[in-house]
């Protein structure tokens, strides 16, 4: 199968969906002139000039326009240049997009995708690097999706665009250039389905975003210690595929949950709590989380390397979980 980068896969999904459905449009800052900061919207203005809107710097306005257009029957794909900036549009996401269906007794539908480049990238420090998965997981009415490979990026973005409810789509900046197999043409992955990326018998590592690849690398190293590790890519944090995760943990008896965000009240914490509640009888050790310390992202690379979790953090965590 052909290979594409993560950002090429997203771009392909956007082009294919816009070709399929005339109600889809793209809106965001620099999405035409520069093709977006990570080139995901490159080429759309040439192919669909009527359906791409380059805006002034006005995140609340952009998000509010998306909500209104969605309620009026369109399918907006909103790009927030760096996910940190979504805090400038929190009312529109949390009070408007998320609650509209419920408050109107099911009359409103807000089929909107909010694309969020997140996490550490080119050392942009605290205001351009945050990961806020758990902020949005906590809001009923929102869906939170985190692809880890180019193939999943395409399949999940297409499903997110087709969803009748708002989706927060997390794109980790440091994997935009990663390459992987991407099916040609129609390829969708249902929201709310985790994926077992590697089968194993001794422990389950549930991983989010770039931590999936790190967990697969850790699993190879752990073979030397005699551990046969299963790796599950959560893919969707809300709705969360509790069935796949619990089935795996109940089988292996050990669980490690890996996210790149701060572990404290992070996505990994919710998954760990869910495992503890549902799999207690099958657990043979503590559920261990891997994540960053509870600090803003620093600037210096010498500091950053102590913040972003890497393979040794995962192997250590598995060892702790097994003892």
């Amino acid at each position: 199968m052909r290979e594409l980068t993560f950002s090429e896969a997203l771009r392909e999904a956007l082009h294919e969906e816009m070709e399929r459905d005339e109600t889809i449009f793209v809106i965001g800052e620099d999405v035409i002139t520069h093709g977006g900061p990570y080139k995901v919207t490159d080429g759309i203005a040439e192919r669909f000039p009527e359906r791409i809107f380059e805006t002034p710097i006005a995140e609340a306005g952009i998000m509010g326009v998306g909500v209104g257009a969605a309620m009026a029957g369109m399918n907006p794909v909103v790009e927030i240049m760096y996910m940190d900036f979504v805090t400038c549009a929190m009312d529109e996401v949390v009070n408007q997009a998320a609650k509209m269906r419920y408050m109107t007794g099911g009359q409103a539908s807000v089929p909107m995708v909010i694309r969020l480049p997140c996490g550490v990238g080119r050392l942009l420090a605290a205001q351009h690097s945050q990961i806020m998965e758990s902020w949005f997981m906590h809001v009923p009415g929102l869906q939170v999706v985190v692809p880890s490979t180019p193939g999943d990026a395409k399949g999940l973005l297409k499903s997110a665009i087709r969803s009748p409810d708002p989706v927060l789509f997390f794109e980790y900046k440091r994997i935009y250039t990663s390459r992987g197999e991407v099916p040609d043409g129609e390829h969708t992955i249902p929201l709310g389905q985790a994926k077992i990326c590697r089968e194993g018998e001794d422990a389950t590592v549930v991983a989010i975003g770039p931590m999936v690849q790190k967990s697969l690398e850790a699993a190879v190293l752990l073979e030397d210690d005699g551990y046969d590790v299963e790796v599950v890519d959560a893919r969707s944090l809300s709705p969360l595929d509790t069935e796949t995760i619990c089935e795996s943990v109940s089988r292996t008896g050990h669980a490690v949950v890996c996210g790149e965000d701060s572990s404290f009240a992070g996505a990994a914490s919710e998954i760990a709590a869910m495992i503890g509640e549902n799999c207690f009888g099958d657990l043979k050790g503590p559920v261990v989380r891997v994540g960053s310390p509870h600090v803003p992202m620093p600037f210096s690379s010498e500091l950053v390397k102590h913040v972003v979790p890497e393979v040794p953090d995962i192997t250590d965590a598995v060892s702790r979980a097994m003892t």
Binding site: D91, E92, M103, T104, G105, P164
Partner: protein, 326 residues
């Protein structure tokens, strides 16, 4: 006057529908049937009715936390609205929205809104949808003078102006931001003057005068429908009740309220106009008021007799049907 006798009568009736619906809802709070917040629109009826008198069924309206008038003027059924205020399953929003969140998507009334200024960008988005689909539907956003201080006012109107969208921004300047007199916290007296920042027309009208509101809104709606872009209208108006239930109104004098009720009631003002034009007789007036009273009595009966929602409804409508909620 650019107004027909038939439309005049309909708008006169709609003002009474709003007035009597709210006075009854207010009475029901003392009986314990209506609970929660109740932001009364009484006194401002000419704004909602005068603007909506220019709209087609397929035009969009977005409102505020004080939106009973906007919903009724757009054609919402009073009995389902009353049931919503009672928290009943038959309510406009199945008892999940309440007074501040009434919406009726069958009328393209896309919702009241509990957050000040939060409807401005979504109204702009609905207008963008009309433009993308190539229809000539117009969006109207009502908001209060308090919203003019918010960033969403600047961002929403800025985008509507940038893309020349078919939207009319209607600021209901009722002089008070909750309990604070507007000019204690604002520097510009007229919200209409802010239109210059977006290079769109800004017009200030007497919001107690239905004819004036109707005519100014008519021009703005026609301009939007022709594809010439947004207009900002400031309707200077007044609410006859406090901000919400239990407001002691220490920030304004009872003489001021009495003066507005006596000399600037939009209903009595328009009744005089109708009678001067020979469009309304005393008998017709009495008949309209009686019919509206009957409608509101029936609304209360319907709300009273309707069932409350059942517990299984707690977890529905979070996501589209078929999606499980934990």
């Amino acid at each position: 006057m650019d107004l027909s006798p038939e439309l005049g009568k309909k708008m006169y009736r709609d003002m009474w529908r709003i007035r009597l619906f709210e006075e009854e809802a207010n009475r029901q709070t003392s009986l314990g049937s209506v609970v929660g917040a109740l932001h009364m629109y009484c006194g401002e009826e000419a704004v909602a009715v005068g603007v909506c008198g220019n709209l087609r069924d397929d035009d969009y309206v977005l409102g505020t936390h004080r939106s009973h008038g906007h919903c009724l003027a757009k054609g919402a059924e009073s009995h389902r609205m009353m049931a919503e205020l009672f928290g009943k399953a038959t309510g406009t929003c199945a008892g999940k929205g309440g007074s501040m969140h009434i919406a009726d998507f069958s009328l393209n009334m896309l919702g009241a809104n509990g957050i000040v200024g939060a409807g401005i960008a979504p109204a702009t988005g609905a207008a963008l949808a009309s433009k993308l689909r190539g229809t000539d539907q117009v969006s109207v956003c009502f908001f209060g003078d308090g919203a003019a201080a918010r960033g969403t006012f600047h961002e929403g109107i800025g985008l509507g102006a940038l893309w020349k969208l078919p939207v009319v921004y209607v600021c209901e300047n009722n002089q008070y931001q909750q309990w604070v007199p507007r000019m204690n916290v604002a520097v510009l007296d007229s919200v209409a003057d802010m239109a210059g920042s977006y290079a769109i027309p800004g017009v200030s009208v007497n919001g107690q005068d239905l004819v004036e509101v109707y005519e100014v809104a008519g021009e703005a709606v026609a301009r939007a429908r022709r594809g010439e872009g947004p207009t900002l209208i400031e309707a200077r108006t007044y609410r006859f009740y406090g901000h919400s239930l239990g407001d002691e109104e220490q920030y304004r004098s009872s003489e001021e309220v009495e003066e507005m009720r006596t000399n600037h009631d939009p209903i009595t003002t328009f009744r005089s106009t109708m009678m001067d034009q020979g469009w309304l007789t005393e008998e017709e007036d009495a008949q309209i008021q009686n019919e509206v009273r009957d409608e509101i009595t029936e609304a209360v009966r319907f709300a009273d007799e309707s069932p409350f929602p059942t517990p299984d409804n707690v977890t529905t409508d979070v996501l589209a049907p078929g999606q499980e909620v934990a």
